[in-house]
């Protein structure tokens, strides 16, 4: 293709997006659009898959059958969300095997929040309430993103995600209405998950390298700082209902802006965790690799079985 032809295709492409039309897998797209989407969708998929680990930690120790069934269903949803997203990502011309490989070698990132440990049962409450809460805020705008398969996967994900947050909040509520010790446990979980949840919405706008381009492609519809403000404004009243204290002495309602002011975020901690030095980075990746390698015989057996069945069918046909 000549440069002029590419320029004209690019112009048509940008016009389509500006017009809120969707881009589908076989449509022409700039290489940078493809690459950016592979990066973001795969990071998102990896986050769902790695996100199962901190909660999987508590399935066998859930305090009741009701809680256990709910937590199992939530973790199963996360597996499902990972699968929707991997499928969407593969439509951009990358194989599942390559995607897994990028995760297992550490070449691809996943959400830094999953590199924190889940120490008590209250963490299941705090994760559902805060982490899924932040995820929903991040994900709802993606339902109208420009890449069709991603947008469709996100619609499905968002539909399922609200149960996650509600079950988490209900866990917190039970603990807060329980004994003093249980309430303390809930407060401790909030103290540990609050700041990482704020960081989860991404670096500040002034430090975010991808924001501008991503906004143009509608891969992002609100900036990180806008999303963070929205998250804080919606979460503080929820903490009040629980009777818990947000661990930020500078948190204060600002009448003028119609939102809360909040204290500085420890971005050094964020970048440390992103770079692999969080408390659980190594364990999470080891667990993923282990699951993949130890599951190899199952994949091989399934493949051999399918082949044998196929041969048998062919023989009968002759």
């Amino acid at each position: 293709m000549s440069e002029a032809e590419i320029k004209s295709l690019e112009a048509q492409f940008e016009a389509k997006i500006a017009n809120d039309e969707k881009i589908e897998p076989k449509d022409w797209m700039p290489e940078k659009y493809r690459k950016t989407h592979i990066r973001q969708i795969s990071q998102h998929a990896h986050s769902e898959i790695v996100g199962m680990l901190p909660e999987g930690n508590w399935i066998t120790r859930a305090p009741s059958l009701r809680r256990k069934a709910a937590l199992l269903a939530k973790v199963q949803d996360e597996a499902g969300h990972g699968l929707y997203l991997y499928s969407a990502c593969e439509t951009l011309g990358i194989s599942r095997e390559e995607l897994y490989n990028q995760l297992h070698t550490g070449a691809a990132k996943y959400s830094s929040i999953f590199n924190y440990p889940t120490l008590t049962w209250a963490d299941m409450g705090a994760i559902g309430w805060l982490v899924d809460g932040a995820a929903i805020i991040n994900q709802v705008p993606l339902c109208s993103t420009s890449y069709g398969p991603y947008a469709r996967a996100m619609v499905r994900v968002c539909k399922e995600e609200s149960f996650h947050q509600r079950q988490g909040y209900e866990i917190m509520l039970s603990l807060c209405n329980g004994t003093e010790e249980q309430k303390q446990m809930a407060q401790d979980a909030l103290n540990r998950w609050w700041w990482p949840s704020l960081m989860m919405l991404g670096p500040e706008d002034k430090d975010s390298v991808h924001t501008e381009q991503s906004m143009k492609w509608k891969l992002k519809r609100k900036t990180n700082d806008e999303l963070r403000q929205q998250f804080i404004d919606q979460t503080v009243p929820q903490a009040d209902i629980l009777g818990l204290t947000i661990p930020d002495p500078e948190l204060k309602w600002n009448e003028e802006k119609g939102g809360y002011d909040f204290g500085p975020i420890d971005w050094d901690e964020f970048w440390q965790v992103v770079k692999g030095h969080g408390p659980m980075n190594k364990k999470r990746l080891d667990d993923r690799r282990n699951a993949w390698e130890k599951g190899k015989w199952v994949r091989d057996a399934a493949m051999a079985y399918a082949q044998k069945q196929n041969e048998r069918k062919n023989k009968q046909a002759i």
Partner: protein
């Protein structure tokens, strides 16, 4: 992994009387496993009463580059629509 696990497209009928609709794809070794996986991945909340799976490689798709010649001719055939015909106002229900 020596061989890629085949890719399947999944279609779900949400209730009788409605058509099967494409809802996504997944990897599975054979059709039976694809059906089982589709049930777990795409119908965890009563989304369906029937599932079709078809291996993606068997689908032949039109090329977006041909969209013009395929679909544009329909645009100037307004006489295929009922509103094209001018009828008197007295005539009701036609």
């Amino acid at each position: 992994m020596s061989k890629e696990i085949p890719l399947w497209e999944v279609f779900i009928r949400s209730k009788n009387g409605l058509e099967h609709r494409h809802c996504g794809s997944l990897h599975a070794e054979d059709a039976e496993m694809a059906l089982n996986n589709a049930r777990d991945v795409y119908t965890r909340r009563n989304e369906g009463v029937s599932i079709w799976v078809v291996e993606s490689k068997h689908i032949t798709a039109s090329n977006p580059q041909d969209s013009g010649e395929l679909f544009e001719p329909a645009a100037d055939k307004v006489y295929r629509h009922p509103t094209f015909y001018e009828l008197p106002d007295e005539l009701k229900h036609m």
